[in-house]
Amino acid sequence: MTKRPPVNPAQLSCPVPLEQSDRVQLGHGSGGKLSAQLVARHFLPHFENAALSQLGDASVVTVGGAELAVSTDSFVVHPVEFPGGNIGTLAVHGTLNDVAMMGARPVCLTAGFVLEEGLSLTLLDRVIDEMARAARAAGVPIVAGDTKVVDRGKADGLYINTTGIGVLDPTFRPAPARAEGGDAILVSGAIARHGMAIMAAREGLAFESAITSDTASLAPLVDALRPLGGDVHVLRDPTRGGVASTLNEIAVSSNVGIEIDETALPVPGDVRAACEMLGLDPLYVANEGVMVVFVAEAQAEAALRALRSHPVGADAVRIGRVVTAHPRIVALRTPLGGTRVVDLLPGDQLPRIC
């Protein structure tokens, strides 16, 4: 094993030679290169099947001739409550959105709870109340559930797992591999709000105004785009790893190049200030109520109008385009006209010293 010198803090994260670790690290859950490696090396070889190997937000399963989208997700957010929502809101929206990104109409949810001994029942009631409210607003019932209680110290308050099932729409099948040269790339709203809301709550950072999470159901925005049919090529909600990671995944899946304009990225002032203070890049910060849309250029304006017709998509903007040059690479045009490559993060984003 060669010894390796230290790293340059002139960036947000530093890959350690990935093959060195013999244990699960937090970075394995970051949605970056380590996460992809964990799935590819430790899960896929054992669970191999056609539905799973799609590796989408949700899998397509055919039951009695009907095509269903199935997605499952666990929520372990800390703190449990944050400005703009709580773990219950996320558990509903996160899974609904994964189903909706397939173009499917969500029909039901299941919810499993792992509760820690000593958890306040008042807090639990608040979480369940928000969950119920979010599910009702989306018109999707929670049809099955489970609870387990573990010893104090064995969980962080509570964890929730939700599974969502949706019915696929044969006329509307966006997929990560369908991006084409010339496509316009849109985002449905301001980015990096959720991650910075959590960060501020977790670090006890006092900003003048609390940054609120963007947690929201994206299903109505998907419905608004439905009339555009096959011209909507890709829908993805950039959660863990942020917009940068999602764009990288799409560039690889579709074997296309992506170009985005830094000046077009919608980052709210307070979020930008928080990112500056903590030395984080908003492109890699998690979102929970934003989606990225790849649409044929001819329909770009129509798609923007459709997104803006709903409150959740009111701030939708165009951020870039698909190019035939530099396939599989996401390039960012800086405000000065320079170019840099936006890569996948190796692991967690770490704050910089300088």
């Binding site: 094993m1 060669t2 010894k3 390796r4 010198p5 230290p6 790293v7 340059n8 803090p9 002139a10 960036q11 947000l12 994260s13 530093c14 890959p15 350690v16 030679p17 990935l18 093959e19 060195q20 670790s21 244990r23 699960v24 690290q25 937090l26 970075g27 290169k33 670090e203 190049g257 000046t263 002032g269 930008r272 200030a273 500056e276 903590l278 030395g279 035939t324 040059a325 530099h326 396939p327 599989r328 690479i329 390039a331 800086t334 405000p335 000065l336 006209g337 320079g338 170019t339 840099r340 490559v341 890569d343 190796p346 692991g347 770490l350 704050p351 910089r352 010293i353 300088c354």
Partner: protein, 371 residues
């Protein structure tokens, strides 16, 4: 966002680039000293925009990058102890030591926490009297006052379960070491604005005079950096070599005297190893004898740990501007961002990694053009 948006104004930046290009009668080689400046240059693609007029060499001015392997190994040894809560700035967590990093220590059960200030680490010590809280005090003169303050307050408050692992370095000796190396190519420097906000720029004046190089105290936003480059190029074209201050909104000639006084009270100058450069005399800070009880190296008996730096990559030559990354035999072959041999390839914005990504980007463009 006052003081930010105006320094990111694309029109001002573009006009500065045009002025620099018009003024340069030849290609000048400048070095930005600070990692924060490197970050902006790479993120904004400034070196690409100045091609032909200015070559920017990314200097040894990032504290993480120049932290010697033995200090990392000391940190890992301390962090693995059961009675210790080890605190650090975030980006030290992935710095590889001889066989692992702080993240892996954490995965194995070590208490490693990211803090944003050494005073947070001190507060942690007051909350956990049954634990030893250690703060990894890295950085240039910029972070030295806060670290000195934490030690000074710990003594003032009588907190006994707090100590610091010191790995402080100072900028002027590094600039001197680069200028005195026989193969130096650097013709002018952008000095680190935040360092000078603390220290001022008096120490740079004899260096500029002796070595006949312009040194510009520069900020961190794109317009700051371009103004700094403009001032350096303008001096070089006129045959001048002065210390000038571009970062007037933050830096005064004498720096911040109370901060300097506090640093001098707690720390003293010492010889220090630099990754990629070797030992530079009197280029580091160590705790003064009267603060010895806050020295983690003594407290945990790791002071004697010595590690030979591996010579399997030419990071040092890259960091001092002797070679460009592609001139290293390992570049892109046995050394890639996924499996880096050295610091500049480890980070996505280190010089080697930036070249690697750009090469990938241009290669695919070229392939596209010819297909």
């Amino acid at each position: 966002m006052k003081y930010l948006s105006e320094y990111r104004d694309a029109d001002i930046a573009k006009s500065l680039i045009a002025r620099i290009k018009a003024r340069a009668t030849r290609r000048w080689t400048l070095m930005e000293v600070c990692g924060g400046q490197t970050h902006t240059i790479v993120r904004q693609g400034l070196d690409e925009l100045l091609e032909g007029a200015v070559e920017m060499i990314h200097g040894p001015g990032c504290p993480v990058c120049v932290t010697p392997l033995e200090q990392i190994d000391k940190a890992l040894a301390i962090a693995a102890r059961p009675e210790v809560i080890f605190t650090s700035f975030g980006d030290m967590l992935r710095v590889p030591g001889s066989d692992c990093d702080l993240q892996q220590v954490r995965a194995r059960g070590g208490a490693v926490r990211v803090v944003y200030s050494p005073l947070d680490a001190l507060a942690l010590a007051q909350q956990h009297l049954d634990k030893e809280v250690v703060f990894f005090a890295v950085g240039f003169e910029t972070t030295a006052p806060a670290n000195a303050m934490a030690v000074w307050r710990a003594r003032d408050l009588g907190v006994k379960n707090f100590s610091v692992l010191v790995s402080h370095v100072t900028v002027p000796p590094a600039i001197t070491a680069i200028l005195e190396s026989s193969d130096n190519r650097v013709q002018g420097f952008l000095a680190a604005g935040h360092v000078c906000a603390v220290m001022g720029w008096e120490e740079y004046e004899p260096i500029a005079t002796k070595h006949r190089v312009p040194i510009i105290v520069t900020g961190f936003e794109p317009v700051d950096i371009l103004e700094g480059i403009w001032m350096a190029v303008d001096q070089l074209e006129a045959g001048r070599h002065e210390v000038m201050n571009q970062y007037v909104r933050s830096v005064r000639r004498q720096g911040t005297p109370p901060a300097r006084a506090l640093v001098a009270q707690v720390f003293e100058l010492a010889d220090r190893q630099w990754r990629g450069i070797g030992e530079i005399p009197m280029s580091g800070l160590r705790l003064r004898e009267e603060f010895a009880e806050y020295d983690a190296e003594r407290k945990f008996g790791v002071g004697g740990l010595k590690v030979t730096e591996p010579a399997d990559c030419r990071a040092g030559d890259v960091l001092t501007g002797r070679i460009k990354p592609p001139q290293c035999a390992a570049f892109g072959t046995i050394c890639t961002p996924e499996r880096p041999l050295g610091a500049p390839m480890v980070s996505t914005e280190g010089a080697c990694s930036a070249y690697y990504n750009l090469a990938k980007y241009r290669a695919t463009d070229a392939a596209e053009a010819t297909s």
